[in-house]
């Protein structure tokens, strides 16, 4: 004790076993644990949110990866198709006959509505098939014809066959009437006991009695539900409800001009509601004969849902059951190709110059600051720039992947430059010195030693920049790269095109139910490409990485 006092200055004697010290140690450990806990909470939160996102996209998008189809026996009648000119055959009739043979009891009355079970593209599918297989003319072939979007959704269980007959507010009105004690049971029917003023101006005693009974019944109901529209009130009463007034007048003509209590039967859904059931009606998208015909097709085992290859190999369509991503994938590919060819060499050249050759002065500082800021500029601004300069000034074609790629390369350049500079900086100076020491010129040092060592970093940065560009929507929308591309054949650098993200945008905008799941499926495809690119980035890094 006295020894330590000799060594240490006065007042710094520490008892490492005192309560105070122990408390401090405990506090330190607690702080450590807290810090770890915050980190774990943050990670769990992030993973949880990501999980929710992915789950919701996958569950929404999964139905789009299969497509409901019906196997139809199609008789390609040589009388209706000219073998010399198969494209101009009467495929509408052929298709109608094929449907009629598959569904017994199609009449001329309901053939139109039953035809709507199938995609509106069906005659063209037949035509394309016959054009590519001319030898089937005169034969009967079995073709899988996609069903239209409502039936696709019905078969996948996305849309229910029956929906609630009463809305939430309609059920609320009825509850109000129940609470007022108006709802009664009479003659085995649910009725509403209402006070009716038999207006002499509106009825004739008859016999038989006539007059605006429906209006009177509505008016008496309105006394209980003052803010409800007339049509809704009428729907609440059964169709034969006004006759109750007529019966009453017939029984006793003296009620005219008086207020009497009359029980009106309610309409069927409300009667079900009164019994405590949830009334259902057929989904208004379908008609009963359509459902009957579809059930017949199902019973005959003709309906099946194979994997939806058309999602990948067909271009866009107005009908969701026929819409695919091939046009968008091709457009994105061309745009990314242009983007890569422009930004990779320019980015590396700029980074190498700035990092290795540029003198350090105010001007290069300014350039550096600007490049770093460019990386943070919102992409829509680049889109405006592309619109003004590439389209407006240089007059390049609208919607073209060339312009899209040029705009995207503006966005990718700063990312590549920053990543390349970081990779160049990370090359140890000893390697440069070693090369300079044996008499390599600056150019040789760069090309033989620094760039190969920096390559994994450069490639990673480039691919991450390209992945960003792949997902970029706003600039492409501004230069019009969201064209409707119904065919993959004429996609080219200078042709109008669309891209994956803009395709997602336009599908998300479409009202058809089928596009909801297709939008999610397209997002999954886009995410798949992004994951693929990142995997390539990691693989390249491993491949080129060398230890020193």
């Amino acid at each position: 004790m006295s020894d330590s006092q000799v060594i240490k200055p006065e007042g710094l004697t520490i008892d490492w076993r005192s309560d105070k010290t122990n408390r401090r140690v405990r506090r330190r450990y607690a702080a450590n644990r807290r810090l770890q806990a915050y980190g774990i909470i943050a990670i769990v939160l992030a993973i949880g949110l990501l999980g929710v996102l992915v789950t919701s996209i996958v569950s929404t998008g999964a139905p789009a990866f299969v497509q409901t189809k019906v196997d139809l026996q199609v008789d390609i009648d040589s009388a209706k198709v000219d073998p010399q000119d198969p494209a101009s055959g009467n495929y509408r009739t052929i298709f109608r006959e094929a449907v009629a043979s598959a569904v017994p009891g199609v009449t001329s009355k309901n053939q139109r509505s039953i035809g709507k079970i199938f995609s509106s593209d069906a005659p063209y599918i037949l035509r394309d098939y016959v054009v590519s297989h001319p030898d089937v003319i005169g034969k009967t072939v079995t073709l899988a014809i996609p069903v239209s979007d409502p039936f696709d959704q019905l078969y996948k269980g996305v849309i229910p066959l029956e929906v609630d007959a009463l809305s939430w507010s309609q059920a609320g009105w009825f509850e109000r009437l129940t609470n007022r004690g108006v709802v009664v049971e009479q003659d085995g029917r649910t009725g509403l006991k209402l006070d009716v003023y038999i207006d002499p101006a509106k009825v004739e005693a008859g016999p038989p009695p006539s007059g605006e009974f429906a209006a009177l019944a509505r008016k008496s109901l309105q006394a209980y539900l003052p803010n409800v529209r007339d049509s809704s009130l009428s729907k609440m009463l059964a169709d034969d409800a006004p006759e109750a007034i007529a019966k009453r007048i017939a029984a006793d003509p003296g009620v005219i001009g008086k207020t009497v209590q009359i029980v009106f039967p309610v309409s069927a859904p409300y009667a079900e509601l009164a019994k405590g059931e949830t009334p259902k009606v057929l989904n208004p998208r379908y008609s009963p004969d359509q459902i009957e015909a579809f059930d017949t097709l199902k019973e005959r085992g003709l309906v099946h849902s194979p994997f939806n290859w058309e999602l990948f190999f067909r271009a866009d369509s107005r009908f969701p059951e026929r819409a695919g991503l091939a046009g968008a994938i091709a457009g994105s590919f061309y745009a990314l190709l242009v983007c890569f060819l422009l930004s990779f060499p320019i980015g590396i050249a700029a980074a190498v110059y700035l990092e290795e050759f540029a003198p350090k002065n105010r001007f290069t500082d300014l350039i550096e600051v600007n490049i770093n800021n460019l990386a943070a500029v919102p992409s829509v601004v680049f889109g405006l720039l592309g619109l003004a300069v590439f389209l407006g000034y240089f007059g390049l074609p609208r919607s073209a992947p060339l312009v899209g790629g040029m705009v995207l390369s503006l966005m990718t350049l700063p990312t590549i430059i920053i990543a390349t500079r970081a990779a160049l900086k990370a090359v140890p100076p000893s390697i440069r010195e070693a090369a300079l020491g044996v008499g390599a010129s600056k150019h040789q040092v760069m090309m033989h030693h620094v760039l190969p060592l920096a390559l994994p970093g450069i490639l990673t940065g480039t691919i991450i920049g390209m992945a960003q560009a792949l997902g970029e929507t706003a600039p492409l929308l501004l230069i019009g790269m969201n064209a409707f591309i119904p065919s993959v054949e004429n996609v080219g650098l200078l042709e109008p095109a669309t891209s994956l993200p803009t395709q997602i945008y336009s599908w998300a905008d479409s009202p058809e139910r089928g596009f909801v799941s297709r939008t999610s499926a397209a997002i999954l495809v886009l995410l798949g490409f992004l994951v693929l690119m990142n995997v390539i980035a990691v693989a390249l890094r491993h491949m080129f990485e060398r230890k020193w």
């Binding site: 350090k360 140890p428 000893s430 390697i431 440069r432 010195e433 070693a434 090369a435 300079l436 020491g437 044996v438 008499g439 390599a440 010129s441 600056k442 040789q444 033989h448 030693h449 060592l453 060398r546 230890k547 020193w548």
Partner: protein, 282 residues
Amino acid sequence: MEAKVAPQPAVQTPAPPVPETKAGTSPAEQHALKMKASNVNLWYGEKQALFDVDLEIFDRSVTALIGPSGCGKSTFLRCLDRMNDVIDGCRVSGDIRLDGQDIYDPHVDPVQLRARVGMVFQKPNPFPKSIFENVAYGPRIHGLCSTKAELEEVVVGSLTRAGLFEEVKDRLQEPGTGLSGGQQQRLCIARAISVNPEVLLMDEPCSALDPIATARIEDLMEELKEQLCIVIVTHSMQQAARVSQRTAFFHLGKLIEVDQTSTIFTNPKEQRTQDYITGRFG
């Protein structure tokens, strides 16, 4: 030819420098003047790092530069092959001549100069390539060999001169970075001498090595100095005493004293040299 210095590893040398007597000869004086620096001043930006350094370096001998950290000895060494050129804001004035030619003359190509004046660095820095490629790189970029056989001959010759060939002859295609520290440093020496430099600059070549590897490098320097001129920067005064014929003492950017190694370590003229070699500072 004087006796081999320090056949034993350096660890066995006692702490105060006990320089061996050089058998009364002055080997450096027998050789021609190889490099001559006069009035060399150097600035890193605003800060002056070298003040009026005058030094003569003789062929076929070892010149050691000693001094405390930050005294400018490495900086001066890097002036001799213009490695300072690549440092931003570095400015050199004065006159450094190689065989009578001013190396800072605008007509002199620094890249060719660095082929004539090779350099070995403090930390072994082989390229992340094969052993063969490491040594072949210099001859290749200078176009010294026209055929593959010639190149192989140069590589094998350089590795042999660097005393590494026997150890690596079976694995020339393996990465140079896989060798031990001492082997890596000898590989770097092989790489430096593969282009037949006239002067070899060594910047603390043994400071990252263990005593046995150090001893091997020192033996190697002994052999190499028969063919070329070596300038070595070292923190170890024992090493300077063992390997060098002339020693220059730097302090605070100034060349304090330069003389025969034996003179410096036994009878220095300057008080500061005396203080440094006896361990009073530094």
